[in-house]
């Protein structure tokens, strides 16, 4: 690798390729294939057609009038919940599945937290005739049961991971182990802007369609740019996707991490320190010995001790600000959107909504785009079981 290539895999000090030797060849191969695909007009055309006809893009930018009145500003929702399979995850899943087919891979492994990435990957694989194995923490299988059934219906094998914290972190460990065991025929379809280079940049690029659309839609409707963009951050793919459209503008970027119950949380950008997890340098929740800490969030998709390297970089550079919203506050926003606008958001996206409310309470009158990254149907059985609705 040349010096330039090494730099390309880094966001400041963050990122890199901290993986066992067995995977290095795969990552180099993936990097080359992705660089080639970026220059390939046929690949671009196929991806665009897939996004339009299979995913259902462009998604609307919706002016939430009653919510705006409530919050005291102008609130716009980027409706990723309206995509096929119900969350932004499908944008990246179809992109990587097309790339995997180009690489001649016949088998896809993926991790999933809330199950949305697993469902999106299963759908993308069904469409291309690829074998699909999804690793999911056993705890998440329980709290996101509808998505487990959907993945199976789409032909995927779902493996419940019983080790340790039984959540997203464990699912990623298992997916990487699977990939190490079968590097030749398998592509690891990571669902967020985490993992070793080239994943963080590649997943951001596949998700950047959100930001491109939102920027153009806002400009066209309002004749100006928004004051702020707000998105929830677990690994950080929906946030990176929408931020990508506004990085060079004078638009505030707000990422929202999961505050859980307060003491236990999943907010590495707010309370973590830099370290290496799942192949990349990033902010992490860890102890003095470098052991990764357990996390808690009501939202399975945010329940992760690390965060994408580019977010780690944007935090240090000050270009984006990162905040914390707790379970209870997110749940209130979840119910409020249902009542005011007739939209049931994912618990993950509800964290972003809750922060938008806080932001407008402090600074009324701002125009804000909230990335409504997914729909909340998946959360209902678990919330009702726990009598939280």
């Amino acid at each position: 690798m040349t010096t330039a290539e090494r730099t390309r895999g880094r966001f400041g000090i963050y990122g890199g390729q901290y993986v066992p030797e067995t995977l290095v060849a795969n990552l180099h191969e993936l990097e080359q294939a992705y660089e080639a695909a970026k220059q390939d007009a046929d690949f671009a055309t196929e991806l665009e057609l897939t996004l339009r006809e299979f995913v259902g893009r462009a998604t609307p930018l919706y002016f939430a009038e009653r919510l705006s009145a409530d919050f005291g500003g102008r609130v716009f929702l980027k409706r990723e919940d309206l995509t096929h399979t119900g969350a932004h995850k499908i944008n990246n899943a179809v992109g990587q599945a097309l790339l995997a087919r180009k690489l001649g891979k016949t088998r896809i492994v993926a991790e999933t937290g809330a199950g949305q990435h697993g469902v999106a990957t299963a759908a993308a694989c069904a469409r291309l005739g690829l074998e699909c194995v999804v690793y999911m923490g056993a705890l998440d299988c329980e709290r996101q049961r509808p998505n487990v059934e959907r993945m199976k219906l789409l032909g995927a094998t779902v493996v419940a991971c019983e080790a340790g914290s039984r959540n997203l972190k464990i699912a990623i460990n298992e997916a990487i182990r699977d990939w190490i065991s079968r590097p030749e025929d398998t592509h690891y379809l990571i669902g967020s802007v985490v993992g070793p280079h080239p994943y963080p940049a590649m997943v951001r690029d596949f998700q950047s369609v959100i930001g491109r659309e939102a920027r153009a839609q806002f400009l066209q409707r309002e004749g100006r740019l928004p004051d702020a963009v707000v998105a929830c951050v677990g690994g950080g793919s929906n946030a990176m996707g929408i931020f990508a459209g506004f990085l060079d503008d004078e638009v505030e970027l707000h990422g929202v991490e999961a505050g859980g119950k307060g003491e236990t949380h999943a907010a590495p950008l707010n309370s973590g320190t830099p370290g290496v997890l799942h192949g990349a340098m990033q902010y992490l929740l860890q102890d003095d010995d470098g052991q990764i800490l357990d996390t808690h969030s009501i939202a399975a998709g945010l329940d992760y001790p690390g965060v994408g390297p580019e977010h780690s970089f944007l935090k240090d550079s000050g270009r984006a600000q990162y905040h914390v919203v707790r379970d209870e506050e997110a749940l209130q926003a979840f119910k409020l959107l249902a009542r005011r606008e007739g939209i049931i958001p994912a618990l993950e996206s509800s964290h972003a909504l809750a922060f938008a409310k806080r932001l407008l309470a402090q600074r009324p009158g701002l125009s804000v785009i909230v990335n409504l990254s997914g729909r909340g149907d998946k959360d209902l059985p678990s919330l009702m079981e726990r009598k939280l609705l």
């Binding site: 390729q17 066992p20 030797e21 067995t22 080790a163 190490i180 065991s181 997890l277 799942h278 470098g290």
Partner: protein
């Protein structure tokens, strides 16, 4: 200097016409006391001992070693605690630590290397620190006198393998198969060819790890490698109530058999 301890260990094995045996023990497994006892016993059979420092999220370990790490963490095993145990050790073969890059970075490269050397550690195997990410660690370790063990996999491309092996110090760790640690049936002709090719390129002794669980494995590969790393078989044996000696004795014997062609 720790590099000397490793070189001496391999030279002695070669001089005596046998292959080196490198057993792997997980610090704090199955209990902290038992580990200290096992470490002493392993010294009677080993040319070099690998000591794993348990990590919460290992990527390259199979289920047996992963479970041992979880047990060790529950027992309160830490890196400083492990180094204390090694400091207390009075004699025995050289020790290399196996741990995750985040455990090293959490201490700081410099402080980690200083403390490891002070505890009598000869080298470190950091599976998730591949060649391209090694430069800084290598500089610091070299300055402190700690060997950073080079690793190679069957998937490593030839020109990269050459670059990695050129830097090998102490010994080179050849991962025998694509996969995590654990049990394998036998070795394919490609594997033997990969080991033979690597050995020819490496200035340092080459040791094969992953899937070495039975004397037959060693017999199959013995004329192509300088040493064998035994992890899963030993950990599983300990879990089943066997002693270190029970597990290592037959493997030691397989390493001791004279080969027809000695690798120069």
């Amino acid at each position: 200097m720790s590099i000397d301890a490793l070189n001496t260990a391999f030279e002695r094995a070669r001089g005596e016409g046998r292959k080196a045996l490198l057993p792997f023990l997980m610090a704090g497994h199955p209990t902290r006391q038992a580990f200290e006892h096992n470490l002493a016993q392993a010294g009677e059979f080993a040319d070099v001992i690998e000591v794993g420092v348990p990590f919460s999220d290992p990527l390259a370990d199979g289920p047996v070693i992963q479970a041992a790490a979880a047990t060790a963490l529950k027992n309160g095993t830490t890196l400083p605690g492990t180094l204390d145990v090694l400091t207390r050790r009075k004699a025995g073969p050289p020790v290399v630590l196996m741990l995750s890059v985040n455990q090293v970075l959490a201490r700081g490269l410099e402080r980690f290397a200083q403390r490891a050397v002070k505890a009598g550690v000869s080298g470190a195997i950091i599976p998730d620190l591949p060649f391209e990410e090694q430069q800084e660690a290598r500089e610091v370790f070299t300055r402190q006198g700690l060997v950073l063990v080079s690793m190679l996999a069957p998937t490593t491309r030839p020109e990269r393998a050459e670059a990695i092996l050129r830097r090998a110090q102490g010994f080179a760790y050849l991962i025998s198969v694509a996969g995590v640690t654990g049990t394998r049936e036998g070795f394919a002709p490609e594997t033997i060819e990969y080991i033979r090719r690597s050995a020819a390129l490496s200035p340092a002794p080459v040791c094969v790890g992953f899937g070495i669980t039975r004397p037959q494995h060693i017999e199959q590969l013995r004329e192509h490698a300088d040493g064998f790393i035994v992890g899963t078989a030993l950990i599983r044996g300990l879990e089943q109530g066997l002693s270190v000696a029970d597990v290592l004795r037959p493997l030691r014997e397989a390493c001791n058999q004279q080969t027809t062609g000695v690798r120069s």
